[in-house]
Point group: D2
């Protein structure tokens, strides 16, 4: 099999390496000529056998939109675009409709695994037609982890379903991370009792109910910097957590831990909290409680 | 009626003024001789007609314990101690038992109203025996707001019930404050839409569903400092909110908003969040996401 | 002043009464002929002096859209539509743009006060142009509560700002209600200590920090049915709370208490919780813990 | 090595089997004669070589207290009690002090792994003196999972530290379970998009960021009953989650996801929610919103 891959950043580059290692031929395109196999997107399309398969691995939103637009002008009826980025599922609906007008097929693939995917394989959640999923299965098999296919790959449903599943995956991920982090803070706070915080997390890796890959990563991080002295408690978010809460709200599904973990990230990025200024001001108003004046 | 008042700080002093204005004679004692009517606690007790009533208005915990201990040695069978401070209801159980051994009566009074109580009167929640509540009703009538007694005073139950009710009152208070504060932050964040944040809160004071005394205080605070430029988002807590959550936990009562408002205060006091350091470290581990290094 | 009012349901009817009581002439239209002053919307428009002012008071969403569409075809350049319903602020952007093409002005008015507005007046939050706000001020003055205008009326900003402010108002309202409700549940659970739950809430109405209009309503409700024996813990939501959380998420504003209060409503409407089924299943898997079988 | 084991229920029995399989001699005692090796606790003590080691594996609280009391009267200076149950760390402080008076040593061991421990080994978190931990290491080695000792065993600190770590472990566990459960509910709610909910969870087992042992258990549960049709969303809690929140509160450590997961369990056990009755009553009061009457 021979596919095109648009976007050779941290993720795309690793994925190309894994694909090639596992026998899939890849022609890669990136705006950075230093890593690109071809000069232009048109050249990429020309290099591929029909029906063409182009996997997009660029930032969600406008950049993905632009690549889809460009490919729409270059691809032919029967070709296939797979969006493997972190797009919102509603973007898939839009892209799919746009491309269908020209007979170009569309598929969305949620990809999990981060920088470890090259070595471990990528967990894949795919949305699209049965026929196309069958056709590009060699690509999925090359990317996914070893072991039974159904433990690292799922055809979730029609277009959009892959990114929907990935969105929920990431929403869960946010709350899992927050859960370990809360436990860490409590253990760290009671170092009068807990003499070995890192050792405690380390000892949870086998046999316990909380063992997980994230726990193993936390152990790695603690072993590298046991007090997190070189890291600030400032946490970005990349969209999926927000969309998960939005979907919870839209569908009347209560998501207390997932929303709490997003809000914790929002707070982590604030220099000072307007809300807590208001609370401090209120306490001062009714109780004459001292406030901390801004210096 | 003539009572003793131990503790002439911000609250005690105001309460003395209101009691005297409304015809209750008060002999006050404070460790600060500048404000004390008598030199010693023994002198205070001597100054009172039997059966004596001594109202304690000092910080909860060890200081209240010490005053109760001292009074235990000075008072006689039939005398009454009222703890009007912010004691935990379980302290009331302990104090009551301790004093009962000597025939001294005990009552707890939750007092709400802050620095405004002198002018507006204090909301009172009282725990103790029917007979004693009747006997000292003139004191409660002097302290409570004008209007029907049952709108500013309640005999909640036996000893401890007054502080229990006050604890829940404050737990609710925490969540009410947080609710307004969250709304403030959202309005403040969308000043591209909301051209008059202070004016919006101001306009909620009449007719709306959210009108309240806390809202009026928020308007006062905003009018004094519309951007809260002179105030830090650093908020203390004085115990009752924590005890409320503890009671929720002990009695399997879900308290999502009250607990959220306490946690927001905890976060507001952290220089940096150990939990969010852990989350940042985790993101870095799996995604190679950049972290903010500590300078 | 003479205006048209479309929608004579619970809210619209009360508003008509208050407007007329305060000297504003109202021609009302409703699809229900029994309460309508005119046979058709066209008749309503014909009855009004130019420049016409038509206040819409119908359910948000499709029904409001339909009325705006119909009025677009009937009104003339210089006329004004005021949407006083619970529309989302983004609907205002859309309606305003649609009508501007024909020179028809648009204004949004968030209205708070519920069934009490007839008597107490309605809190008003208005978005639109300065000139139009000035022109229809007699209408706002008739609707708003007595007292200083700025305590029951605010011109929040351009079109959409009124409903934005109302949305946040309602988000806050949700959390306020939940806060009192959590306190109620805790007091109710500890009736071994709290001998008079209704009396406790009643006594918070004067002097305390938590006094509010909602508290007064809670007292009314408790006095009518002290154990809430005739009411189910099933709570609807009407959109604004969800939009508030959505806006929090979109703007990285943490809203822990507001989101918690929405989620509590979602849970209240579930026959059984799929999430808690999953948790029960998990506990059973690792601990052999008994599960409650569905009958 | 030869130890005594008090409590041969689900956990104790499995632990005895694993100990014996791995070369530790066990004399077991249970109040149920059918499974007990000896007739009385005194007989158990007599059967053990000095210095004796008795591992207690009975329900936390009064039952553990009673066993400790009984053993206090039977053991001698230099003997050791290990509490492997789910006791609160403050019970350890008490038990340790009580036994120290007679020269009996005490150790606490948090044990994780549930019904799978027999096969997989038990994650162990131990509090006690260095010397005693060394002495009974063969017991821990027999119980813990295969692999490096530090990945399934930790000597956390002095007495109480083991149960403290286990408490936090369980607090985290609650939030992890809730996180997956929320994700499940959202996927399940959008079955219009997600055509294979079980398959989605199944595909997360390899390569993804959220892979964990709990996820594997959730897959097992879903494969057995894909719609959880035979299970009620009714979830017990066994104390550690509550204590974790209590400790968070006592130490000003924010625990939003852990507390949310406990509260979700509380709600799951309510026939109807008093809090939500209050909210429904309030909505009815101000908006005339219909309430659901109790049948």
């Amino acid at each position: 099999m021979h596919i095109g891959l648009v976007g050779l950043g941290k993720m795309g580059n690793n994925m190309r390496a894994r694909l090639e290692k596992n026998g899939v031929e890849v022609t890669g395109y990136d705006t950075n000529p230093a890593v690109s196999d071809v000069a232009t997107l048109a050249d990429l399309v020309k290099a591929l056998p029909a029906p063409r398969t182009v996997w997009i691995m660029v930032p969600a939103g406008k950049i993905t939109d632009a690549v889809v637009n460009d490919l729409e002008g270059l691809l032919e009826k029967g070709d296939l675009i797979i969006d493997g980025g972190n797009s919102k599922f509603t973007d898939d609906f839009r892209h799919s409709e746009q491309l269908a007008a020209k007979g170009i097929d569309y598929m969305d693939a949620g990809v999990s695994g981060g920088v470890w995917g090259l070595e471990n394989g990528y967990g894949l959640m795919v949305g699209g037609s049965e026929a196309q999923v069958e056709r590009v299965m060699p690509v999925f098999d090359a990317l996914r982890p070893e072991g039974p296919r159904e433990e690292g790959f799922v055809h979730v449903g029609e277009v959009g379903a892959g990114h929907y599943a990935k969105m929920v995956h990431n929403g869960i991920e946010y709350a899992l991370m927050q859960a370990y982090a809360e436990g860490y803070e409590l253990l760290d706070t009671r170092k009068d009792i807990i003499k070995d915080v890192t050792g405690t997390f380390k000892a949870w890796q086998r046999g316990t109910v909380v063992r997980s890959w994230l726990l193993e990563l936390l152990v790695r991080a603690l072993e590298a910097d046991p007090e997190f002295q070189n890291i600030e408690g400032y946490v970005q978010d990349s969209g999926e957590g927000r969309w998960t809460v939005e979907e919870g709200i839209n569908n009347a599904v209560p998501l207390p831990t997932i929303s709490a973990s997003i809000f914790a990230r929002f707070v982590s990025r604030q220099e000072d909290s307007p809300a807590m200024k208001a609370v401090a001001a209120l306490r001062n108003q009714f109780g004459g409680h001292a406030v901390k004046a801004v210096d």
